[in-house]
Amino acid sequence: MVDKIVVENLSIDYGGVRVLKDMSLSVKEHEILGVIGPANSGKTSFLRALNRLNDLDISSRLSGSIRLNGKDINREMDAEEVRKKVAMVFALPIPLPMSIFDNIAYGPRRHGVKKKKKLEEIVEQSLKAAFLWEEVKDRLSSSGMKLSGGQQQRLCIARTLAVEPEVILYDEPCSGLDPISTAKVEDAMRELKNRYTQILVTNNVKQAARVGDRVAFFLMGELVEIGEAGQLFTAPKDKRTEDYLTGRFG
């Protein structure tokens, strides 16, 4: 498969503290890459570097390169272009304070889609793809904030899909959800595999095993190991990975 994202020698500092050390890895097109690791292992910083949300923190410094479809996202693309192609779903669902319809239509509208018919189409397709359509189709005009936690997270996924990204980043998307909502979000991820490249940062090792094609293990800002999910979970090459998976630390 083609490499969608290639990260080379990526290091990130926050106000002088190094949170990511000389990391190199690649993400293949249409795969789900699970990223696991204990707290402070640099998972979220890694994710936020991929769509340049780190730019918002003025104390952050980045070296090395991240390439998307061969283009350097920090030097050859502007931040908006990167974020439109590499979208992020956050740990806590953050519906914007507007109706369900407007939440989904928000991105496309800002990117210039004006026709009502087209917007309705995008909203319906996005909600269907995120497995939320059946639950909300009769109340699209009610507030996105009145949905349950799991529904809100799927709303956020739908909102992300509406801008037609190529890559979707998830930052512990199920940390606040119950098991049934989690299962629904995971179903949505598997369903989206045919069309998107997805990176899932999670504290839940089992979740990485359930949905990840490949899994990367981060520890204290370093990439310890990356490999096929089946191999990494059953026969980890690195002692530290094994220790983490068996619960000896972290």
Binding site: N51, L53, L56, I58, E80, E81, V82, R83, K84, K85, A87, M88, F90, L92, I94, L96, P97, M98, Y106, G107, R110, H111, S143, G144, M145, K146, C156, R159, T160, V163
Partner: protein, 283 residues
């Protein structure tokens, strides 16, 4: 003498209760006196007629209209300027020497006595910029006076919009300005309106800033343009109370009541608009 902790608590609550009740007293007294002595003067003619006989009779129509003009002019200038400044300071400015200077300047501007604004307005707008004693000069002076109030409240309103909303929007590839325009500003609007309300009240009630810049002592007609002088309620009240002999107290109190009533009405409009916006707010 020793009290049990229960008794101490009771005494503390009582003192706190008394302290907050005392705040209501002056308000009630002022309103009672104003209404008691001023209400008999108020009728349709008082509100809509020109003053006559050296302001000892007739109405206060030009002063009411003058104050309305001044308040509108002030808001038209101060609101956009203040909100744009607040957006810059909150969303764009980096923390450096310049922004700290701007913030210090805003705080100091808020502490300048209003008569100094009056003299400043006369020096800059009336004399140097040759606007003459006019509604423009007065409104600009009042606008500078209420800018700190508007900027400060707008800043607080913008800061109270959760950072996560901004990130959610930015993460969709939406530009920073569009994020501010479509997510941050709509949610900051109620707070910005609160500042506007305070600004309106100050602009409508101050005498000193308009003294040298716009207010006419006696002008029994409406202003012809924004470069004309006009009468204004606070100054008119001052004139009636101290400069003109033999004015019946009825007219004085009536004028005061109209001024207070007008500020109240202007505030009411802003409060209604604000609660309307808040009711649509979904978080």
């Amino acid at each position: 003498m020793k009290f049990s902790s229960q008794t101490k608590q009771k005494i503390a609550f009582m003192l706190l209760g008394i302290a907050s009740t005392i705040v209501i007293v002056p308000v009630i007294v002022i309103f009672t006196i104003l209404i008691q002595k001023g209400l008999p003067a108020i009728n349709w003619q008082f509100l809509t007629a020109m003053p006559r006989m050296g302001m000892r009779a007739g109405g206060i129509f030009p002063a009411i209209m003058g104050t309305l003009y001044l308040v509108s002019g002030t808001i038209v200038v101060a609101l956009p300027l203040g909100v744009l400044a607040a957006i810059y300071l909150v969303e764009y400015a980096r923390r450096n020497f310049l922004t700290r200077m701007i913030e210090v300047a805003i705080v100091n501007l808020a502490g300048v006595p209003s008569v100094v604004y009056g003299l400043f307005g006369m020096g800059l707008f009336v004399i140097y910029l040759k606007m003459g004693v006019s509604i423009v000069a007065g409104a600009l002076t009042l606008a500078i006076m209420i800018l700190p109030v508007i900027i400060t409240s707008a800043k607080e309103a913008l800061q109270s919009v959760p950072r996560s909303f901004r990130e959610a929007s930015l993460a969709l590839g939406v530009s920073k300005w569009q994020t501010i325009r479509y997510v941050v500003l709509p949610n900051a609007l109620p707070g910005i309106l609160t500042g506007t309300i305070l600004g309106i009240s100050r602009a409508a009630g101050e005498t000193a800033p308009i003294l040298f810049t716009v207010a006419a002592f006696y002008l029994p007609r409406l202003p012809k343009s924004i470069f004309d002088q006009c009468m204004a309620l606070p100054y008119h009240l001052y004139v009636l109370s101290t400069q003109v002999p033999n004015v019946s107290p009825k007219i004085q109190y009536g004028t005061a009541l109209v001024l207070v009533g007008m500020v109240f009405l202007l505030n009411l409009v802003a409060v209604i608009v604000r609660s309307h916006i808040r009711s649509r707010k979904q978080w």
